[in-house]
């Protein structure tokens, strides 16, 4: 038996993230879809997805998230939810609410959908005044009522960034007014579109501290009525997050064209082939493929991570961030102050403090911009 065979067998892919489509009616400047999404291959068919659901469930997946793009764009969503439910998945729908009619909500309920996470994305491109935009509020109010009427828990999410962080009080109040039981205030992570717009989106330290203070005041004010989670941007930290709870450890993402990934941005990593569910079964993808095995555990690490006493805590952080900033996917995540490339993160924060993004226009996510960026080479 070789040494590799003696390595502990990873647990099952507990979380299946089904990115059903890259199509989306919105244009978020922090969108987490790849910048070249518009050049992605054809979407998986209904039958492909049904097979993926069955294979993933057989491999031990139990949470299933339907996301996108906007998953409601797919008119087979109800069929997929019904099958996931029948298989024993706990089914989650991550949506902006655009396209959720009373009819579709009722059909999703009948199909066994367990939970909807409603995000605060807006249909207007005016990022900083989206809060006063009545269309946003009307849409969220209508969708929130549908969620309530169907007996789903009310879980809301709002991506936080430099342009809306100063209105955090109004965001929280809006969530309370809509009856949210859980509210996630997730600072933008700097990948994909958000990386393009980093100078404009990264908040300053002062903004962040103020927002955290206000969030705490609201936690005290509302107690159990609404549980508020605040996710800080890792650029303002000195230690990286344990990305995806470990590479190939819990999460299996399947992109619209069927590529299987340990996280939704991993496709950017060079020299690493990721399998496609059209060609390989989920169990083999998870346990046997090179893409999933490459950064599992800690044997791939270099210094400073290799000899670091904290390496089990964060597993060296995010591979994509290491690649994007330090140019090496096996390097320490530059968020870590032990990383030789940490200066790049410090510099990005300093640029934010100096207001470097004030004059540059935001790049909004849309297919035309995506094709242009892809043509320019990513």
């Amino acid at each position: 038996m070789s040494a590799a065979n003696l390595a502990p067998q990873p647990g099952p892919p507990l979380w299946l993230l089904a990115e059903l489509t890259y199509r989306c009616p919105l244009h978020c400047a922090f969108c987490y879809n790849p910048v070249d999404f518009a050049t992605s291959g054809p979407e998986l068919s209904t039958d492909d997805w049904l097979r993926v659901l069955r294979e993933a469930r057989a491999a031990g997946s139990v949470q299933c998230g339907f996301s996108g793009g906007e998953p409601l764009v797919r008119d087979d969503l109800e069929i997929l939810v019904a099958e996931a439910h029948r298989l024993g998945f706990y089914t989650n729908l991550l949506t902006s609410g655009v396209g959720l009619t009373a009819e579709r909500a009722a059909a999703l309920k009948a199909a066994g959908l367990d939970h909807i996470q409603l995000s605060f994305q807006d249909s207007t491109r005016e990022l900083n005044d989206f809060l006063s935009h009545t269309r946003t509020f009307d849409l969220k109010q209508r969708v929130a009522a549908l969620i309530k009427d169907n007996g789903w828990p009310m879980v809301m999410n709002c991506v936080i960034h430099r342009l809306n962080i100063d209105y955090i009080d109004r965001i929280i109040e809006m969530a309370v007014e809509l009856g949210a039981e859980y509210l996630e205030l997730a600072n933008s992570q700097y990948y994909s579109w958000a990386l393009l717009n980093r100078d404009q989106l990264l908040p300053t330290r002062d903004q962040l501290e103020r927002a955290e203070r206000i969030t705490n005041e609201y936690r005290e004010k509302y107690g159990d009525r609404i549980r508020i989670f605040f996710v800080v941007p890792d650029y303002h930290e000195k230690r990286p997050k344990k990305c995806m709870n470990g590479w190939g450890n819990v999460f299996l993402t399947v992109t619209p064209d069927g590529t299987a990934l340990p996280c939704h941005t991993a496709k950017m990593l060079p020299g690493l082939a990721f399998p496609n569910v059209r060609e390989m079964g989920v169990r083999d993808i998870w346990y046997e493929s090179e893409g999933f095995n490459r950064y599992r555990g800690d044997s791939w690490m270099k210094d400073p991570c290799r000899t670091c006493p904290d390496k089990e805590k964060d597993l060296g952080g995010c591979r994509c961030q290491a690649y994007m900033l330090a140019g090496d996917p096996a390097a320490a995540d530059p968020v870590c102050d032990k990383s030789p490339a940490h200066g790049l993160v410090v510099e990005a924060v300093a640029r934010a403090e100096a207001g470097a993004g004030r004059s540059a226009p935001l790049v909004f996510r849309d297919p035309a911009a995506s094709r242009r960026i892809a043509a320019e080479g990513g």
């Binding site: 647990g11 099952p12 507990l14 491999a59 031990g60 139990v62 949470q63 998230g65 024993g88 706990y90 989650n92 367990d114 939970h115 996470q117 828990p153 879980v155 859980y182």
Partner: protein, 91 residues
């Protein structure tokens, strides 16, 4: 004494959670929006009996019989208190 530990109360799994046997994990799990709690064996055995029809005394008797044990009442009461604090069960 809280309601969950009263011996004539009939605890049941809270509507916020779904209790389910997971073959791949060889365990009972509690599922909720975007999350999961994996229960150890004794927690799973207690939780699966919290169906809203059995009293705490009946649950204890049932467990003692199933596992050929005695004197489980305190352990069960302690667990139910914890489960209630986590809002896993309601009465």
């Amino acid at each position: 004494m809280s309601a969950a530990t009263a011996t004539d109360a009939c605890p049941r799994v809270s509507r916020r959670f779904r209790l389910q046997w997971e073959e791949a994990q060889n365990a009972w799990v509690l599922l909720y929006p975007e999350g999961m709690v994996k229960l150890n064996q004794s927690a799973g055995e207690i939780m699966r009996r919290c169906d809203g029809s059995r009293t705490v005394s009946q649950i204890v008797a049932d467990l003692e019989q199933a596992f050929g044990a005695s004197g489980l009442a305190d352990d069960v009461a302690k667990f139910l208190e914890l489960a209630r604090a986590q809002q896993w069960i309601e009465t």
